[in-house]
Amino acid sequence: MAIGWYLVVSALIFCVGAAGVLLRRNPLVILLCLELMLNAGNLALIAFARMSGTGDGQIFAIIVMVVAACEVTIGLGIIVAMFRRRLPIDVDELRELQG
């Protein structure tokens, strides 16, 4: 397949993920949508790596996966801490910086 197809798919997934970040209120689901966006970026990276013929893009994608994993760890840790402190799990409710 031409590389362009993969790029279009990547763009589509990125936009769907962006829409999800804006539309969902549960922070867990927002994190999931962030994962979507990251994956879309990965796909684009791999596609361009295929286009250039070097392996640099793939390394980039692997590092992105590492970063995503770390981010998920901390994000979920925060959500669990919020849950334990009996705060509402809703980004619209969590507006203030106190506590």
């Binding site: 970040v21 209120r25 927002i30 980004v91 203030e96």
Partner: protein, 671 residues
């Protein structure tokens, strides 16, 4: 020592006195400030004498000297330096001013001895003398205006000297406001004469030389400029209609009244017109205005003085009347007469005020004529001084006032034409002068002694609760109010010496210019008035003799009338008052000038002020400007604050928007 050096010393001495007294006010105790002040003015007097001596040693054509200290202002169109003009007129004025001031300072060391503001008083007095000397010695318009303004400031400070008295502060403000109107006239007049197609130089001598070339006779801008100068002169010299401040200025202590409001400051207007004689001779229309106003003032003031009951106010209106004579004289070209009368008036008016101060002290600060009487036995020295001053004022020969008033009217009569009206009115005024002067003297000293006089005859000076003599409000004797003790001439050596010297001068002072006999004054002043068409020796001998005789007759008649009404037949005054009630009311209410000004100026201004503070301030300033800007800021910040909502998704949306924008820009860039 050269004349100019002497002039600088005469100017600097009071300034040094002022600085020494005011900077060391904590240090000076007892009479030290008074001594310093008096000595400073005495130095001025000595310097004036030396200056005159040197000036007389120069040739007749070289007696107008200028001396510049440094360049003061050299900017857009203004080129002025600190320059003195030392010529006979200036030194004559300096001599009289410093001489009379020394005596008044001496008097004040005794009179104000128990006042807690003693040091402040002498600082102000020295400041005043410095300003006055600056005014008369000024070599250019700028120095003249500066001296003029300083004199007004000194007058304000001294009128409201007892500053906790509301009547005094009100009077000070009134004097200052009217003076400022005069200042505006002076500055605008200078503008018309010097700038805007005028002579181009602020220097006095240069202006005088150029005025013939620059302006045609009676040219519009010159007449306008001269009339504006006259406005300044009238405001300073308390001529109608700028005269209302002088009577209220009697709120100041008596030495102040003697110095400023009799001898020196109020004569600044006379000096101005006399000094500017080239301008006025080139614009006779303005000069005529001055003569008419002077004549009107002398009659109006004399008529008011007939009915006043406050001792100091009678003398104040008398001053106004005599200044009217002087203004009339210098406007009409009788320069020698005007300045001669200035000198003799300084002597006898200061003497009258000093004696009045003594009487008021004996009355424990009561100034009402109705409550005075029979002080002749209790205060013989004061009585003698009062009589000498009164005789001089009423122009009785051989006292000084006789010769000076006569000189004026003679020179005016010689001009002929419509000046005969002024001549007649001048003699009429002389009659009224004699009447009111001796009314004052007879009511105060003759008749049955009042309780205060009786106490004094027994050797005890009357004391009363301190109160405002004008409206009776209760006061205390702390700083800002008069002191607890009162000082009369009989008991205070310094007051006695000063009054004695002035009495002698008032008696023999006329010797310098006995018409057709001695010519000390006009030969002395001639270099200043060289080139004047009107500065001539009087030539008409018949008019001279007629005038002398008429003057003496009118004076004695006036004394006789006063004696008749107030001593011989005591009820006459009351009957006259009933018969001529409207005339009496007009005179007693000072021709209703105060009421007129209140209606025309004071009330509208107050109404505008009230409207401004209630409406304009509230609606426009608070509402539109202050409220408008704050609400603008508030609305703006509310709009900006909306971006900090705390909603995560809003932030995410903004992020996305930014990202989209960047992508769009990159897309556009790549085409």
């Amino acid at each position: 020592m050269s004349a100019t050096t002497a002039a600088w010393i005469a100017l600097a001495a009071p300034l040094v006195g002022l600085l020494v007294i005011s900077l060391g006010w904590r240090v000076w105790s007892g009479r030290a400030a008074g001594v310093i002040g008096t000595l400073a003015i005495a130095v001025s007097f000595a310097a004036a004498i030396l200056g005159i001596a040197d000036l007389q040693s120069l040739g007749e054509d070289e007696r107008q000297l200028t001396s510049t200290a440094w360049d003061y202002a050299n900017t857009v169109g203004v080129d002025a330096s600190v320059t003195l003009l030392v010529d006979p007129l200036a030194l004559f004025m300096t001599l009289v001013i410093s001489g009379v001031s020394t005596l008044i300072h001496l008097y004040a060391t005794g009179y104000m001895a128990s006042d807690r503001g003693y040091v402040r008083f002498f600082a102000y007095l020295n400041f005043f003398v410095f300003s006055m000397l600056l005014l008369v010695l000024a070599g250019n318009f700028l120095m003249l205006i500066v001296g003029w303004a300083f004199v007004g400031a000194a007058s304000y400070l001294l009128i409201s000297f007892w500053y906790r008295r509301e009547t005094a502060t009100g009077a000070g403000i009134k004097a200052f406001v009217i003076n400022v109107i005069g200042d505006v006239g002076l500055v605008l007049g200078t503008y018309f004469i010097v700038f805007d197609g005028g002579t181009g130089s602020l220097d006095l001598l240069t202006t005088f030389g150029e005025v013939g070339r620059t302006f045609a006779e009676n040219e519009g801008s010159l007449v306008a400029g001269c009339i504006l100068l006259l406005v300044g002169a009238f405001a300073k010299s308390a001529q109608v209609p700028f005269h209302t401040w002088l009577a209220d200025a009697m709120e100041g202590p008596t030495p102040v009244s003697a110095l400023i409001h009799a001898a020196t400051m109020v004569t600044a207007g006379v000096y101005l017109i006399g000094r500017m004689w080239p301008l006025f001779e080139q614009a006779p229309a303005a000069a005529d205005v001055g003569a008419v106003v002077g004549c009107a003032t002398l009659l109006i003031a004399a008529s008011i003085a007939l009915t006043q009951t406050d001792l100091k106010r009678v003398i104040a209106y008398s001053t106004m009347s005599q200044i009217g004579y002087m203004i009339m004289a210098v406007s009409a070209g009788a320069y020698v007469g005007g300045f001669f009368h200035f000198m003799t008036h300084a002597f006898f008016k200061a003497l009258l005020f000093m004696a009045a101060g003594s009487v008021i002290a004996a009355m424990a600060n009561v100034q009402n004529l109705d409550r005075m009487g029979g002080f002749r036995k209790a205060m013989p020295f004061t009585f003698g001084c009062f009589v000498v001053g009164g005789l001089a004022l009423s122009a009785i020969p051989p006292f000084s006032g006789y010769f000076s008033k006569d000189e004026i009217l003679l020179l005016i009569g010689e001009q002929g034409g419509w000046y005969w009206v002024l001549y007649v009115l001048g003699y009429l005024g002389a009659l009224v002068t004699a009447i009111y002067t001796f009314r004052m003297i007879f009511r105060t000293f003759l008749g049955d002694p009042v309780p205060e006089a009786r106490e004094l005859e027994e050797g005890h000076l009357h004391h009363a609760e301190p109160s405002n003599p004008a409206d009776g409000t209760v006061e205390d004797t702390d700083v800002g109010f008069p002191g607890p003790e009162h000082h009369i001439a009989e008991r205070t050596p310094s007051m006695k010496v000063a009054m004695a010297v002035l009495a002698v001068l008032a008696t023999i002072g006329g010797v310098v210019q006995i018409p057709d006999v001695t010519h000390v004054l006009d030969s002395f002043l001639e270099p200043t008035f060289a080139g004047s068409a009107k500065f001539d020796q009087p030539t008409d001998t018949t008019l001279l003799v007629f005038g002398l005789v008429l003057s003496a007759v009118l004076g004695l008649t006036g004394i006789a009338i006063a004696y008749l009404i107030w001593v011989r037949r005591p009820g006459t005054a009351a009957r006259l008052r009933e018969r001529l009630a409207p005339v009496y009311e007009l005179s007693f209410h000072k021709w209703y000038f105060d009421e007129l000004f209140d209606l025309v100026f004071v009330r509208p201004s107050a109404a505008i002020g009230r409207w401004a503070s209630s409406t304009f301030e509230r609606v426009v300033v608070d509402g539109v400007f202050v409220g408008g800007t704050t609400s603008l800021v508030r609305v703006g910040s509310a709009a900006v604050r909306a971006a900090q909502s705390g909603f995560l998704r809003v932030y995410a949306a903004l992020l996305l928007l930014g990202l989209t924008g960047v992508a769009l820009w990159l897309l556009l860039e790549s085409t």
